[in-house]
């Protein structure tokens, strides 16, 4: 086994890990704001992917496809929050969770009704095809794009949350809901927008994944489990825990592929076990 291969897989893992991080970041925002585990997150990812795929195919513009994926998932998320989750915030966890479970089922089946059971694939736009010569290896340009794009998006959301007024409201909503409301901030609208943002990020991750893995009917469920594992690894104390955790998951998965490709998905869970044994509260979780 050459060192080159390890470095290459490390880079591949970073790209995949950034995608996981983006996905789980949205899940973390929703969890932080509304205190619910979003079981529909995988469905938002799939909706984003399919909408991006269709828009890209019709118009030929990948950028427009990504935008459509983001907007579509965001709108679906806001509708679900407005008319479903938002009405259940006073109920027990289990009801919110079941609602999202039901919504996930419906969305998954609706995707099959619209796009059929057969998967599909689409190559990246021309300027992202081919590979970059890094000296020791040829690195696919599209993987580089995923890494950079995810980093840019995560940074933009970080900026939105940490440096803008809207972000200050969101942070206030996460920390002290009642107090935020008492200060005259419309917390219902904030929750709807926050949920939409989280869902939109999942849709964006779905769009970015299209040229990499194509679209399949089960893509949502597969990604949902990974996003949950990433959030569990990251811990629930901070919405940013998802980012290092996503990278860990992606890199572990890619490195294991060198030796035992069929174990790569299982290894993410082994990583989760290792982290939980060492830190039961997750990487950035609070005690």
């Amino acid at each position: 086994m050459s060192l080159n291969l390890v470095f290459t897989q490390l880079l591949n893992g970073t790209a995949v890990g950034m995608l996981y991080a983006l996905m789980a970041f949205g899940l973390s925002i929703i969890k932080g704001l509304l205190n619910i585990p979003n079981f529909a997150h995988g469905a938002f990812y799939a909706v984003g992917a399919y909408v991006c795929f269709s828009a890209y195919e019709r118009t030929g513009s990948f950028w427009l496809g990504l935008l459509c994926g983001f907007v579509a998932s965001g709108i679906v998320g806001m509708v679900i929050e407005r008319f479903g989750v938002g009405k259940l915030l006073a109920s027990a966890y289990l009801f919110q969770l079941l609602l999202l479970f039901g919504v996930a089922l419906m969305l998954e089946q609706a995707i099959i009704l619209v796009w059929g059971t057969a998967g599909n694939s689409k190559s990246p736009p021309e300027f992202l095809q081919g590979a970059v010569d890094l000296g020791f290896t040829l690195y696919p340009r599209y993987l580089l794009f995923i890494t950079v794009a995810s980093a840019v998006i995560i940074t933009a959301v970080w900026f939105l949350i940490e440096k803008t007024k809207f972000g200050a409201y969101i942070r206030a909503g996460i920390d002290k809901k009642e107090m935020t409301q008492a200060l005259g901030i419309n917390i219902d609208a904030l929750f709807t927008l926050g949920f939409g943002l989280g869902a939109g990020l999942a849709g964006l991750a779905g769009g970015l994944a299209v040229p990499l893995v194509g679209v399949t009917a089960t893509m949502g469920t597969d990604m949902l489990s990974i996003a949950f594992v990433v959030v569990v690894i990251g811990g629930l104390g901070s919405i940013y825990g998802a980012i290092p955790a996503g990278l860990i998951a992606g890199i572990v998965q890619s490195l294991v592929t060198i030796w035992a490709a069929e174990l790569s998905t299982v290894m993410i869970y082994v990583a989760m076990l290792a982290v939980l044994t060492w830190r039961p509260q997750g990487l950035l979780g609070e005690r």
Partner: protein
């Protein structure tokens, strides 16, 4: 409660469970009735955690699947007497839920839910990966139902649908009765107390995490047993049994029936005859999802709540007529 009243109570429940098992095959094909009783064991075991322990698990499918795989593997490869695969399913459920439970109960609330789900998916991908044991995507095929026999009795071929149904029904009655006894035992009271006020329970000298872990194991054991029966039912253990949809499905049936008694989940299973609907339309999860959403939004108390509302409505009308 005095012992005689409690024994009468238990007999009454046994009779009720036996009546449920006896009437079901008259209303539907025996195979579906058997599937319903198997799911009912699964649902009651899950309710031990959700209703009594207040532990909102979303990963019971893992133990159902593992129990089914353990039993199914033995039945497909070796011709062992009938108690062996059932015990294997039970033990597999107990051991795996002890290990997974030990990780999960250290956290509460959402983190707990997410961890149970994550472990469920871990088992799913393990089952998917190790196809030489589980059959992977195609399911574990070639399962043979062992003949049923007791000392001093000619053995019965369980491939006969009637015998198999009676076999399942007997295990259903015994299992649910055992679960009822467990929740009414001192242990069950302590478990309910850990749900209501864990600090108080700790200050009384009980270990909350130990009580929860034991509940997890008991629930896992019965879930594994149900899984073992499921492996016998269609002579195949499908990978769908370990899928998170199965975990969500069972949580939902427990909730629509009502969590306050072990009979609630049984009602829930009868309301949503999964085996029946899934044969009608390949896209049936769409309807199931819509049903879940409607129930959760408008009928949170489950069917028991529906009864209560109807009787309240009835009472109002009677009062209006009287006045």
């Amino acid at each position: 409660m005095n012992p005689r009243a409690s024994r009468r109570d238990l007999l009454l429940r046994a009779a009720l469970l036996a009546a449920i098992a006896a009437v079901s095959p008259l209303l539907m094909p025996a195979k579906i009735a058997a599937e319903i009783l198997i799911c009912a064991i699964f649902a009651c075991a899950t309710n031990l955690l959700i209703g009594y322990g207040g532990l909102f698990t979303f990963g019971q499918g893992a133990f159902y699947g593992l129990g089914g795989y353990a039993a199914g593997f033995l039945m497909a490869r070796f011709g062992l007497p009938w108690p062996v695969p059932l015990l294997a399913g039970l033990l597999m459920g107990a051991v795996s839920s002890a290990i997974i439970g030990a990780f999960c109960i250290r956290r509460t609330g959402i983190y707990f839910i997410m961890m149970t789900f994550a472990f469920n998916q871990m088992i799913y991908y393990l089952a998917y990966t190790f196809r030489n044991i589980t059959g992977g995507e195609d399911g574990l095929a070639g399962i043979k139902r062992p003949p049923f026999g007791l000392p001093g009795m000619t053995s019965l071929n369980l491939d006969n649908p009637t015998y198999f149904y009676i076999f399942v029904a007997a295990i259903f009655v015994v299992s649910v009765l055992a679960l009822i006894r467990i929740v009414e035992s001192p242990f069950g009271r302590v478990l309910v107390a850990t749900r209501e006020n864990p600090r108080r329970v700790a200050s009384l000298g009980f270990s909350v995490s130990l009580v929860q872990l034991v509940a997890f194991m008991i629930s896992g054991a019965f879930t594994g047993l149900a899984g073992a029966l499921y492996a016998m039912l269609y002579w195949i253990m499908p990978i769908d049994a370990v899928h998170w949809l199965n975990s969500g499905y069972i949580v939902f049936t427990v909730l629509i029936g009502g969590t306050s008694s072990m009979f609630g989940p049984i009602i829930g299973i009868f309301i949503w005859l999964q085996g029946f609907f899934s044969t009608l339309w390949a896209r049936w999860p769409l309807l199931f999802g819509a049903f879940v959403v409607i129930v959760v939004l408008f009928l949170q108390g489950g069917v028991i709540e529906l009864f209560r509302r109807l009787s309240a409505l009835w009472g109002r009308r009677e009062r209006a007529e009287a006045s």
